[in-house]
């Protein structure tokens, strides 16, 4: 075996997987996360960090356009797969692995790609103006805005044209921040592809420094003919675990977040959820006792995290309890004026259910 083959074989043993969840495919996403962990692979935090792009579910036009842009940002070697059913996950990841290991195929893929990075499109073109926009246009609903300076509407005002425009991008405009200091104003879309982020959600933010000054929320729908109902049962123990794991992932104690996600998977795959009660108790106690967690999380997020874990520990075998969902139009008020890290935590702690919002026709503000 030559050096090159050996490098390839080693390189794919710990593939980094970027998971995109389409609203309605929550269980499939959990299955992917579990399988990724079982194989000793890992989750990627951004397109540049990823080898494999896994789309869980059938995305609608605009979500597909966003995923296409993310796909263009994977450095390569890269593989893209779609999975619609939890049972199909292992076979799908096998397929991704085969694509990733195929040196010749990867070389051909690299050769066929444009040399310049993919350019987003200005957010000043209102993405909500028309539902049936051509795919390229929805590109500004992009991923986590990895090259989003170019996608920002730079607060165009009168004398834009006199300003230097590197790569055709106007410079950011200024504005007074909360302390009355002049600061650049950027328009950054958060979502729909971000770690620990609700499926399909896009938060169009106006940001100064790291503070969100304005926000508008919407949920990008799945393909029109596929009203899929494959989310975790809302309010079920596994669902609560999933929400707690999301908060913990963002909050930072990596090992606790992993433990919570593993318990979620065990609850999903188990016939006797009561067996997991001691482990759930331990987890809830560990989180409750952590003073650093209490200190570093915003008060309402910490309270929410504790409530989630204690509800699971109290009744792992219990039926789903009804949950009051947060209407999407309350979200902008919740995040305005907050630092970006706090925004991420508040969104993770909010009781959002993108699939339900879509079904009720309330997926936009």
């Amino acid at each position: 075996m030559g050096l090159r083959q050996r490098l390839s074989a080693t390189a794919v043993r710990r593939a980094a997987v970027l998971v995109v969840e389409v609203p309605g495919w929550g269980r499939t996403r959990c299955a992917v996360e579990q399988e990724v962990r079982r194989r000793g692979w890992r989750s990627a935090s951004s397109p540049a960090d990823a080898d494999v792009l896994v789309v869980c579910g059938r995305a609608g036009t605009r979500l597909t356009a966003a995923v296409d842009l993310v796909w263009a940002q994977l450095p390569g070697p890269r593989a893209r797969v779609e999975v619609l059913d939890p049972a199909a996950v292992p076979a799908t990841l096998d397929r991704a692995l085969a694509t990733l290991s195929d040196d010749d195929g990867q070389r051909a893929d690299a050769g066929a790609r444009p040399p310049d990075p993919a350019m987003g499109i200005g957010a000043d073109e209102d993405p909500t103006a028309d539902r049936d926009v051509e795919p390229a246009r929805a590109g500004n609903e992009d991923d986590q805005g990895t090259d989003d300076m170019d996608m920002d509407d730079m607060d165009m005002d009168m004398d834009d044209m006199d300003m230097p425009m590197p790569a055709g991008i106007p410079l950011a405009g200024g504005g007074e921040d909360r302390d009355g200091l002049e600061m650049d104003v950027l328009h950054v879309p958060l979502g729909p592809v971000l770690p620990g982020w609700p499926a399909g959600l896009v938060l169009h933010c106006t940001v100064q420094g790291d503070v969100v000054q304005e926000a508008r929320a919407e949920v990008l729908p799945p393909a029109p003919d596929s009203d899929h109902d494959g989310d975790l049962v809302r309010g079920s123990p596994a669902d609560r675990c999933d929400r707690a794991a999301r908060i913990l992932l963002l909050a930072g104690p990596a090992d606790v977040a992993t433990a919570t996600a593993r318990l979620r998977d065990e609850l999903l795959g188990s016939d006797e959820p009561a067996d997991h009660r001691p482990a759930l108790d331990r987890l809830a106690r560990r989180v409750r006792r952590s003073r650093t967690l209490r200190w570093s999380l915003p008060g309402e997020v910490h309270a929410r995290l504790l409530a989630l874990l204690e509800a699971v520990a109290g009744g792992p075998d219990g039926a789903a309890e009804p949950v009051a969902l947060l209407p999407l139009d309350r979200l902008p008020a919740l995040v305005t004026g907050q630092e970006l890290g706090a925004v991420r935590l508040l969104v993770a702690a909010a009781d959002l259910s993108p699939a339900t919002l879509l079904r009720d026709g309330a997926a936009r503000t």
Binding site: A48, D51, D116, G252, A254, S296, A342
Partner: protein
Amino acid sequence: MTGSLVQVSAGWVPAAAVLLLAVAAVGAVLDGMLAARAEGQPAALGAATPVLETARLLRQRRRWTVAADRPLQMVGTAGLVVVALLMVVVVPFGRWTLSDLPVGVVWFNALDVAVWALVWLAGWGPNSAHALIGGYRFLAQALAYELPLMFAITAPAVAAGSLAVGDVVAAQEGLWFVVWMPVAFLVFCGAVLAFSLRGPFSAPSGVDLAGGVLVDSSGIDRWLLLVGRWALMAAGSAFAVAIFLGGGHGPVLPSWLWSLVKTTALLFVLARVRRSLPTVRPDRLMPFAWVVVLPAVLLQLLVVAVVVVGRG
């Protein structure tokens, strides 16, 4: 012990570089094992993580963003490893040192300030909002940890009456400085985690920013940043061993082995801490650092100064 500290010739520089990277690799291996255990895999499997990740990144293509500031980004990307290598120039390895500068403690401090610029450039370069905010966060964090760090490393220097690391090590014969300056030691360990962007001070490269200053780096660039972080952590641990944990002092074993064992042990402890603590949000860190940590470390310095004067 300055007399017994041997300055080796410049020919040993490559060996010192290899040694630093090896210690950094050991840190990454230990961290991989801890991570694997958390994921329910055998810890031994996690030991291969750094090798697998290296192979992955060597095979990965480099990717640029639109209108990236490439020269500055490359300075920031490659600079972290260089700073870590320059740091260990003044750190003794048992009886040997590359250079026992008369201002060794200041040298270390000056280099850790260079990290400010490098991380900021790594965040600025990609022309991307998340990376930029990662850079902002690091500067805010640096304002919080830098003064406590300076006063923390001043304490051993005052006690030894010298800024040369060799003298500081020699002054610890019999009694390690950590015993009577625990606050300074803890603050210094926190600062090591902070300048190597590790939890609980990982906000500049946090998951909530999809990787922050790391968000757009791939291939060899990402590898250099990750290695730079581990190398900074290893260099910081080695320096902590020299100025707080008695350097090469210890029974039975040769002094170079003591240096190595202590450095690796501290690195392991830091890796454990970072995996189990939540990330401190930047807006929480600043008041804590200035209202609690800074007075505490100044008080520590006062105690040390009084003891030194009292001893005459």
